[in-house]
């Protein structure tokens, strides 16, 4: 459980400066770096540094996505889309993406979501339950981080299913044990460990994954402030991930 290493863990950009620099000293480098495989696109590798393992480990692995299962991903931002891309490794029968933004849902559709639900109308629960024959989903992945989206997951998870939380929450949520106590569900939280990096690298090399589809903008280093602003106004700029080119 690297992410909870009491001497290491999440250090870069958290307890010390991050990596936007020409040279960087990496703590515990002998157990935390991987060589870049030959012939791999460096922009694709950038997607492997954080977003892909986050969606994969916290959402897909914790959520136990499996062949033929039904998956809902609440939040079609970069992390939710990373969960979508990596959920497909396990060939679920359905991947339903839920968001308030039609543009993001279109992106999800293009990345092979089997269905999309705009939850603006407040009827997402009814819609998803109808889509799943009133059973709900085997895996509900929370990729937003607010009480409403977590409770949505509670309402659509099938008996025996899993709610895999990825969202960074700032406040408590209501857990409705009065109807969940007997439903054999599992709820998980996780800080990304990057233990899946070797697996993701192998998939990348085999060309079964193209994470570059998440890149919407590219900036030169001297426009980095524009990059941050573009990312900050994602709804307007339709930014998913931005690349700083050297």
């Amino acid at each position: 459980m690297y992410s909870h290493c009491t001497a290491g863990g999440w250090i870069l950009g958290n307890t010390i400066d991050g990596t936007q620099a020409e040279f960087v000293r990496i703590p515990f480098a002998d157990t935390s770096l991987y060589p870049v495989p030959e012939g791999v696109d460096l922009e694709a590798m950038a997607m492997l540094s954080d977003i892909l393992p986050t969606g994969f480990e916290c959402g897909v692995l914790k959520g136990k996505v499996e062949p033929g299962s039904k998956v809902a991903i609440v939040g079609a931002g970069p992390i939710g889309l990373a969960a979508l891309l990596t959920a497909k490794f396990y060939s679920p029968a359905e991947i339903i993406m839920i968001d308030l933004d039609d543009h993001r849902l279109e992106v999800a559709k293009r990345l092979a979501a089997t269905a999309t639900v705009n939850s603006t109308d407040g009827k997402a629960v009814e819609t998803i339950m109808r889509m799943t024959g009133q059973t709900g989903v085997d895996t509900a992945i929370e990729a937003v981080g607010v009480p409403a989206t977590f409770e949505l997951c509670e309402n659509i998870v099938a008996p025996g299913g899993t709610i895999a939380n990825i969202g960074v929450h700032g406040t408590k949520v209501s857990l409705h044990l009065e109807y969940l106590w007997d439903r054999n569900i599992t709820i998980t939280t996780r800080l990304v460990d990057t233990v899946s990096t070797p697996m993701l690298l192998s998939i990348l090399v085999s060309r079964k994954l193209d994470p570059k589809v998440l890149i919407t903008h590219r900036f030169k280093l001297d426009s980095i402030l524009d990059a941050y602003e573009t990312f900050a106004r994602a709804a307007g700029t339709r930014a998913l991930k931005v690349i700083i080119e050297s």
Copy 2:
């Protein structure tokens, strides 16, 4: 997942009459009955009908108790004690029982709890964190069913740990994702399936388990109303499980 069988599941005593009768028709009997092994005490078998598999499946198995791990069980009633008895199958290093009733904690101690905590003083979290070197427990089993006890579990579960809910809850609880979102925890709920019955029978036959320690009172059939009253006033009568003798 027998407990969520859409045609079967929890029928007896729930959607049809229970089994306090001379003859009983058992729905789906060809896939739900086990022969009583020779030489096994029938009172011990009575403990296997519900309480042992509930503590074992919903608490111990879901809670992934394992050798050398630290376990806390909140609630030292019959179900919590059943979780205690069956947690020992996996040789955890510590089993801490928490309750408001000193008598029940004494019983827990007799059944080999390694420590007991009376939570009346409101300091259970501090006490348990101190007992575990400020790390918390690997498995927190909730065997009460009210918000306060569930939140206690949230406060004592270690990174990577599991909260296994057994309690029947009548209201929602607060889930503090604002500090749990990154702690790699798992929360589980389950309605007992009795899939562990063959395993429990085998352990019973091997004399590695004596569930009769949970029996505190015995009544003749014509005193059955006294039995119910004794069980209803458990705090006063110190009743755990009562047996109706024929």
Copy 3:
């Protein structure tokens, strides 16, 4: 473990007559039949009766195929190809098919094997080790059933890998524990259980699997003897699976 049910198990076509009849009594039907989902092709369903679950359960599930892993399947007959089709559910990086028959290897290639090896030259081990950077494969699936093919698997399995046997063997094989004892490998055998039928049905309905690619010939019921002969001379007729149409 349905396949080892002491009262049931493999009955049809084994201890009693099979199902080539207008009406058939199915033993233990209340726990062994599945409704055909609406809109599903019946020929595809026929592939689900035996060949798909055999390749999937005995090969892919026992072999723990996972995203990014390397898989070798020894034997490109119908069962090996069923393992190939279902291995893809887990997005392995490589699926290498090994056989003596170039035609079958071409079929494998068409069904998305990432590489094929004709082992006629006796150099399959060297070839596969070279293909895998001298590490070997994570999963070696034996789908032939003779000592030579099983020993091939022993020689190409990587440390930590699994040999999943599907083949029906008529004689013992040599297990080279003198070099395997310390290599953390796992060898599995299994009689198909069909526990994966619900999963396979769900995948079929979601159109992520087209098992009809295994069907090479169709016969009317009154030509059933031709069908058997065609299947018996598979090397010459290039038969994989034959369908009897009503």
Copy 4:
């Protein structure tokens, strides 16, 4: 899989000198050393350096020993007895020890084996099958390393069971796939990884394990050659583990 680390792995006493010295340089020490917990007996710790994790990881964990299951351990030498001591963590219903030496079987009995079988008469298979109601054992642990003992395991493993090999084999063995191919068995090999060291330390601290029962002889450092000779003639000296005192 530390034991197959391509840069590290089994180095001490294998590819470089061992640790019988006043000072030792440990390769990869920052990821391979554990602090000795306070108050723990150093002789008990010596048992944790190799023998306990070997029996536990290669035998008990790989063999999936679980509550109520039936276990046979072939070989009652130090490794087999270490498997016995650690198998008890999971409360199996039966642990049958098999050996040719009555003295070692007596030791096994004292360490709570539920039954012992002297296999000198060549009837061990019949005896064990009779003891298990003709079903065989769920876990057969091979702790000798010769063909005869491995084949014994093949003959006593129940459908669905596991053969966990610990023995260091010098020659190939016969694997009887002609009757094992359809029995859903698993065979495992493993070089000890010592990944279980934190768990074993925790159990040791909790006093649920006393590995010092394996120590039969103690020698001063200047009698170390006697110690080696005593260990070499174990059948005569009844040595299990010998301790060199400083």
